[in-house]
Symmetry: C2
Subunit: 437 residues, 2 copies
């Protein structure tokens, strides 16, 4: 049987894992696939530095065209990351009728529409299992495993770095800044952590999940997004007192024609599986109309876990190649001609539970004035915690609510924050709790 | 584009779900697949009784040949269950070059070798996602998602009924017999519960998981199996005191050439995801050499969740049919010519942690004699609980051990159970606890 020839562009951390895995598990890969995978060329701007996995020098090149223009290469693995030249590499590969495997969520979330259309036109596969949830087969599960379902909702912990930070803030009772610095020293967070801690990376992943779940084009900038840099140790502790852990959740939920999509810190009840996903792990809680709850969990990043996902795509494509077919499963889960623009629910219209922390002066009538404004906006209070008594000083008043509308909440907080008895801005954290009405 | 024609044999609970799902979600199924799925014929021995989903009378027949001999039907969905006539239906379908979707774990675990060989010879797909883990895409995950991995281990809660019973015994502090009776009244357990509570159903599923993970033929009777009918409320309570929940685990683990495989009640530490799988749910904790931990969770049974898995197989096969290919992914995950007999580790050689509950007379020297025998057999004690003091009467002495060998444990218990100070048979429950040495 013919061999499958691979070209790898990007010999960094994940690329090294891919080379290692192709080598270490060559025997079982062949037993499963029925033929050999041959890595013909590795391209990187730096081919001098030593890697964990040594390769023969003639495999290496700094010229991507050595892969993109080699007619023998069947599959191009793009692990460069970023927008350019990754976009050019993938476009060239598809134009040269090569299949593509990529882990590049930023690129796909931004330029995916063009790339998927190009792939469909060229009838070449573009696979991206490694781009969301690392080793977790979340793409395959939404696109194939749950293919028979209308996806009611997907709730996910899609960024390992921010989950690591929130976990450490919870277990070690440390501030965001302290934990972030530690994470940077350990290599778990980047020097510029914006993408991870401000929910940008999670938004890229949610955009891809939305596309697969609903077959829609998703304008990245329209996704409502809040990061975790505003979460204080005080809020982590109050959350614990109320029976919640704080997680950076990416949330997708269908309401007839409208789709709710948002990324923000969320309080999740202790008993929920998502509340128990700690450290660098990622997880997805999917509800399908037929499947009911399905929960997937695993390493969202890391050299070998991500390489595992990359190779799973390589094998999937290789099976197509060996049978002489392609574009067997549409890249966006739905047939290209059915893909429409997404109809996002305005964030003002979402309904959920809320946690508020007010900094109020400890004077008679404070609670009554805050509660009065909330009542006027139809916001029903579920619990109240008021602690500490420092005459004339601000004390925290914590409230959780029954299901309320975001726009009412915003209107109420605007009024409350203008009260002379309230200091600073009220902290708002949304709660996912299906036990509350 | 051509339509895909389906024949359904078995119009029971799951069959009704399949018909309902094909109808309710026809629109999105077509948007995803690119063509229509047409259910051409439904066969059952009883076509008179009303179902939740009404169908036109001309769709119904009592004669399986109406499906098996219809050249237009592409895919036969077998949901009859049991050995015969299901075996004949599937064999006839494959011989007539039809693809097969089945949820029949008992049949595949018993006669799978012949059926898979027949399917390979005829180059027809035989898909069985619904046979293990209900709605959870566990087959697809092992076979495709984790294809790049050597599977180090799979630990699973594979039987919902026994998990329901163990959960109720834990939360409601009731005896096995009481909970079983309740479960039978609620329809969660069969009148004859043997298959579920004695681990037979879990053994069928473990046999399939072993085949997919390791590419081996598995003689069902060689799998070590214990059920949950011997679990007492007392042991559930002691487990809780020690920080464990008792679960019926199916365990597969690779040790070089030998594979460990066993089904038995197991104590799992509270913090482990598997310990938190409650009620009817199933779950799988897989460790791959590259992927590290992957955890999947969902409904292991039920009309619509199982139908979701059945239709996912139907779509997978339909995609092959539309591209004019078949046998794209080998049914047993490995190429047929590489499938070998499994080399099971003798149960006497397994090493794990143990929980013992001795019924000992409360006399001086009892603990010393028990501990002495354990020491002679190289069994190192981790914890001891001794409670209650009734002079001259039996009291429970509970011990957990560090990692010990099953044969040493059996030898020690045989000696201990012969002591005049020990009454009845010592209770042995194995523990999975990676925190213990």
């Amino acid at each position: 049987m013919r061999h499958i020839h691979l070209g790898l562009i990007g010999f960094g951390n994940i690329g090294t894992g891919v080379v290692k895995l192709l080598r270490d598990n060559a025997d079982i890969l062949e037993k499963r696939l029925g033929t050999k995978l041959v890595l013909k060329k590795i391209v990187d701007i730096d081919i001098e530095s030593p890697r964990l996995t040594a390769v023969e020098p003639q495999l290496l090149s700094t010229d991507a065209d050595a892969i993109l223009n080699d007619p023998e290469i069947d599959i191009v693995i793009e692990l460069v990351g970023g927008y350019q030249p990754a976009l050019k590499f993938i476009s060239d590969a598809l134009n040269n009728r090569k299949h593509v495997v990529t882990a590049n969520k930023a690129l796909l979330a931004t330029y995916g529409n063009d790339l998927f259309q190009l792939a469909a036109k060229k009838q070449r596969n573009i696979c991206f299992e490694a781009s969301v949830g690392g080793t977790i087969p979340i793409i395959k599960t939404i696109r194939e495993g749950l293919v028979a379902n209308r996806i009611r909702s997907v709730l996910g912990i899609m960024n390992g770095t921010s989950n690591y930070i929130l976990t450490k803030m919870t277990t070690d009772r440390e501030d965001f800044e302290t934990v972030l610095k530690e994470a940077q020293e350990l290599g778990f967070a980047e020097a510029d952590p914006t993408f991870d801690v401000e929910g940008v990376d999670a938004a890229h992943k949610l955009a891809l999940v939305l596309t697969l779940a609903y077959g829609r084009r998703v304008p990245l900038d329209d996704l409502y997004r809040e990061g975790i840099s505003g979460i204080s140790q005080q809020d982590v502790e109050f959350a614990g007192e109320l029976g919640y852990h704080i997680k950076l959740l990416a949330i997708a939920r269908q309401h007839d024609e409208l789709i709710e999509a948002r990324i923000h810190p969320t309080m999740v009840p202790f008993h929920h599986l998502l509340a128990n996903v700690n450290g660098n792990y990622n997880a997805f809680h999917i509800i399908g109309d037929a499947s009911d709850s399905v929960f997937l969990y695993g390493q969202g990043a890391g050299m070998m876990p991500t390489a595992s996902a990359v190779i799973s795509d390589v094998i999937d494509i290789s099976r197509d190649i060996l049978k002489g077919v392609s574009w067997r499963v549409p890249a966006r889960s739905f047939q290209e001609e059915t893909i429409e623009d997404i109809n996002l629910m305005p964030v003002e219209n979402i309904m959920t539970h809320y946690y508020f922390r007010f900094s109020a002066l400890d004077r008679p009538g404070v609670l009554s004035r805050i509660a009065g404004i909330l009542a006027e906006e139809n916001i029903s209070i579920a619990t109240v915690i008021q602690k500490g008594r420092k005459k004339g000083q601000a004390v925290p008043i914590v409230m959780t609510t029954h299901k309320s509308t975001e726009q009412n909440v915003r209107r109420a907080l605007e009024q409350i924050d203008r009260l002379d008895i309230v200091q600073g801005q009220t902290v708002l954290i949304r709660i996912e709790d299906d036990r509350l009405p």
